[in-house]
């Protein structure tokens, strides 16, 4: 593909992610942190996030099964997950976590279950989209990425 075309695509993709609320300002901050000493910083952070957050999701799932009435525990776990999501600017994920916590507050197990499914979906969607994004970026080239992605 033509280089500038690729670049345009990455810009477009990123804009979409923001417009559709998948990402927030924090993602930009991450990109600004990327520099010569850590040229793949953003991707590394995102990878780290998905690895760690998958583990957290498993914990939450287990907790819902094993301790369905322990809303304090569920709230704590999701709080942790939410904090993690905030690190890369996973906006939709974060918002859904807030919904989950509200259900915990209301002691609504059913609400928690539903919310959790949504969290998982958002998490998976974001992961997929970011994977595509980084794939495209790699094609464009690291140097370009740092410059072009800045909004």
């Amino acid at each position: 593909m033509e280089y500038s075309n690729l670049r345009r695509q990455t810009i477009f993709m990123k804009k979409n992610l923001f417009d559709q609320g998948f990402l927030d300002e924090q993602f930009n901050q991450l990109e600004e942190l990327q520099d010569e000493s850590s040229p793949n910083f953003v991707e590394e952070v995102v990878d780290l996030f998905f690895k760690d957050s998958s583990r957290l999701l498993t914990n939450i799932e287990q907790a819902i099964d094993k301790y369905p009435q322990d809303f304090y525990r569920l709230d704590s776990l999701v709080h942790q997950f939410k904090g993690s999501g905030s690190s890369i600017g996973a906006l939709r994920v974060k918002n859904e976590c807030s919904v989950f916590k509200a259900h915990c507050n209301d002691r609504s197990l059913e609400g928690c279950r539903r919310s959790f499914q949504k969290i998982k979906r958002e998490h998976a969607t974001l992961k997929q989209k970011l994977e595509s994004y980084f794939q495209l970026l790699r094609q464009v080239g690291p140097r370009e990425h740092a410059v072009s992605s800045r909004k």
């Binding site: 942190l33 780290l48 904090g83 993690s84 690190s87």
Partner: protein
């Protein structure tokens, strides 16, 4: 301070359980040209800080961490290292932020943290240093100092009593720069004189507080009583405030725990004496609030109670020292000598008390071991309480410490001991082996209870039913008892507490530990591990091991299980969990 260079190279320690955030923060701080160290566990962070206090200028920590509450970490750092600590959280609720400030955080950042916020963290370091400079120099900022003093004047009588008073908090922050350096650290940073609250100094502080009476205490009175040249009222006031904060938290926790603790320890022992003892101890917290003046009375009461209850059972004879907060135990950097703070007495008794790990910590520190059955196995094990992460108390949570570094004592002086009662029962199975073999191990055992804390033992009375007790070096005195009819040396005199050992009619060893001098332990411990030692809160101050040359032995061993705070302790009777604390212990 060189403005151009100062913020650069600022040494930051970041503590966060979230690896993603840790990575991001590290990168952000590096971009600020700071020197960053990251840590995923609060306990490890504490270790790092203890190891080399002067290695860091500032600490940034998350609030929600699985292994230790961020606020507890904050308290620890404030007491032990007195470094500025910034809290972080995704939760920006006012109550949380206020809690952070209450616990001494110099700032509270909301996640996601921005670069510009991190760029400014140096101000907290600068501010602290500036206040220290002011303290020392005084001339240029004499007026400032006066203002500080005047501020404290007003705080004296009322504000300081209300730890939660926001105004107090504000002033506390302002005047909390009262450190007069009496010894420079390894000199890497520009540090003006800081008051290092050594065990000795804290002992005097606590004594003064006791003497005045907790409800009447004020920095000036304490200062006058202490009569330490160079110590300022601000120093005392700041220290007092921290102390109160610590006390109030302990008290709160103890009150919460009283209900839950309910004699679990002794329930299965079937000895009512124990239950009574326990219940009396659990009443301590309320007594604490009444002031230290009750201490001696309580001790007497308990002694009496113990008296009547003692039969020939294997009951622990705890001697409680209700004024629990008096003692400050810390590893003094200069020597192995550790002097404890005030009057904490402990009773070491060897008996057959199974460990109750469900028991929540209470005022009493019970070190339980198996009964001394008269047969000494070649190897015994130390029992370690299971560590309950959720209940780790800030100051007391040492059970998770991987390998305590005993070569580097904890920051001098800023450790507060938990409830004064120390009751240790260790079981030594043996055949009338020379007690001198046992003592060191015993003392070591006690010693090791404090993670980097040292305790002072003024006198240790050990009573053996049928063996002669020989005293060891220093102040440990052991009396031999014939037929357990009496206990000698059972009184330890402390400034505030007296206690008597109760004679036990079982072949048990009762050690009574007072405080003051550090008893020294022989270098070479006998290969006699204590079996089934479990720890609850042990007011380390009661243990004085003077001339103990090998602190590493015990400390490495039991350090992991020692928390000397109000003790969110959980104990496990699974001896197999922790076979031998540390090989060094029984070298």
């Amino acid at each position: 301070m060189d403005a151009a260079a100062f913020p650069y190279g600022l040494r930051v320690l970041v503590v966060d359980d979230d690896p993603t955030w840790l990575k991001i923060l590290e990168k952000m701080l590096r971009k600020c040209s700071y020197e960053v160290t990251t840590c995923g566990l609060a306990r490890v962070a504490l270790d790092i800080l203890r190891e080399r206090k002067s290695r860091f200028d500032i600490v940034i920590s998350d609030v929600n961490m699985p292994d230790m509450d961020g606020f507890k970490l904050l308290e620890h750092i404030g007491l032990e290292m007195d470094l500025p600590v910034i809290m972080m959280s995704i939760d920006g609720e006012t109550s949380r932020v206020m809690k952070g400030v209450h616990h001494g955080a110099c700032d509270y950042l909301l996640k996601p943290v921005r670069m510009k916020e991190l760029r400014n963290i140096w101000q907290h370091v600068y501010r602290k240093k500036m206040h220290e400079v002011k303290e020392i120099e005084g001339h240029d900022s004499f007026d400032d100092l006066q203002i500080l003093r005047n501020d404290f004047e007003g705080l004296d009588e009322k504000s300081l009593f209300m730890i939660s008073d926001p105004e107090t908090m504000r002033k506390r922050k302002d005047v909390d720069r009262d450190h007069v350096d009496q010894e420079s650290s390894d000199g890497t940073t520009v540090k003006k004189a800081r008051v290092i609250w050594s065990v000795d100094l804290h002992q005097k502080f606590v004594n003064a507080v006791n003497q005045i009476g907790f409800d009447k205490v004020g920095p000036k009175k304490i200062l006058d009583l202490m009569n330490i040249p160079g110590l300022t009222r601000e120093n005392v006031a700041s220290h007092l405030q921290k102390y109160r904060l610590y006390l109030s938290r302990l008290q709160k926790q103890n009150e919460e725990r009283i209900l839950g603790t309910a004699m679990q320890d002794f329930s299965h022992k079937g000895t009512s004496e124990n239950l009574n003892l326990r219940s009396s101890f659990q009443e301590q917290p309320s007594n604490i609030a009444n002031g230290y003046s009750h201490a001696s009375q309580n001790i007497q009461t308990q002694s009496n109670m113990l008296d009547s209850q003692l039969e020939d059972t294997k009951s622990t004879v705890p001697l409680s020292v209700p004024d629990k907060k008096r003692s400050l135990v810390s590893d003094v950097a200069d020597s192995q000598n550790v002097t404890s703070a005030s009057a904490l007495g402990g009773v070491l008794s060897f008996k057959g008390m199974p460990v109750n790990h469900d028991r929540k910590p209470s005022e009493t520190m019970i070190l339980e071991c198996h009964a001394w059955s008269g047969v000494m196995p070649s190897k015994q094990f130390m029992q370690y309480p299971k560590h309950n992460h959720e209940r780790c108390d800030l100051l007391g949570d040492y059970s998770c410490l991987p390998k305590p570094d005993l070569e580097h004592p904890v920051a001098p002086g800023n450790l507060y001991t938990p409830p004064p009662l120390i009751s240790m029962s260790c079981s030594m199975e043996g055949d009338g082996r020379d007690f001198s073999d046992v003592k060191p191990a015993l003392v070591d055992c006690i010693k090791s209870l404090s993670p980097a804390l040292t305790c002072t033992v003024e006198s240790v009375s050990v009573q053996l039913s049928d063996s002669v007790v020989t005293s060891i070096d220093g102040d440990l005195k052991f009396s031999s008892v014939d037929g357990l009819s009496s206990i000698k040396d059972c009184c330890f005199d402390q400034t505030n507490s007296q206690g008597t050992l109760r004679p036990s009619q079982e072949p048990s060893i009762i050690g009574f530990i007072g405080s003051t001098e550090l008893a020294s332990l022989p270098e070479d411990l006998p290969g006699y591990p204590l079996q089934g030692v479990s720890f609850e809160n042990i007011p380390l101050s009661a243990f004085d091991f003077s001339h103990y040359n090998d602190t590493t032995m015990i400390q490495s061993g039991l350090q992991n299980n020692w928390w000397y705070d109000d003790g969110d302790l959980e104990f496990s009777s699974e001896m197999t969990d922790y076979p031998l604390i540390d090989g060094r212990l029984f070298a």
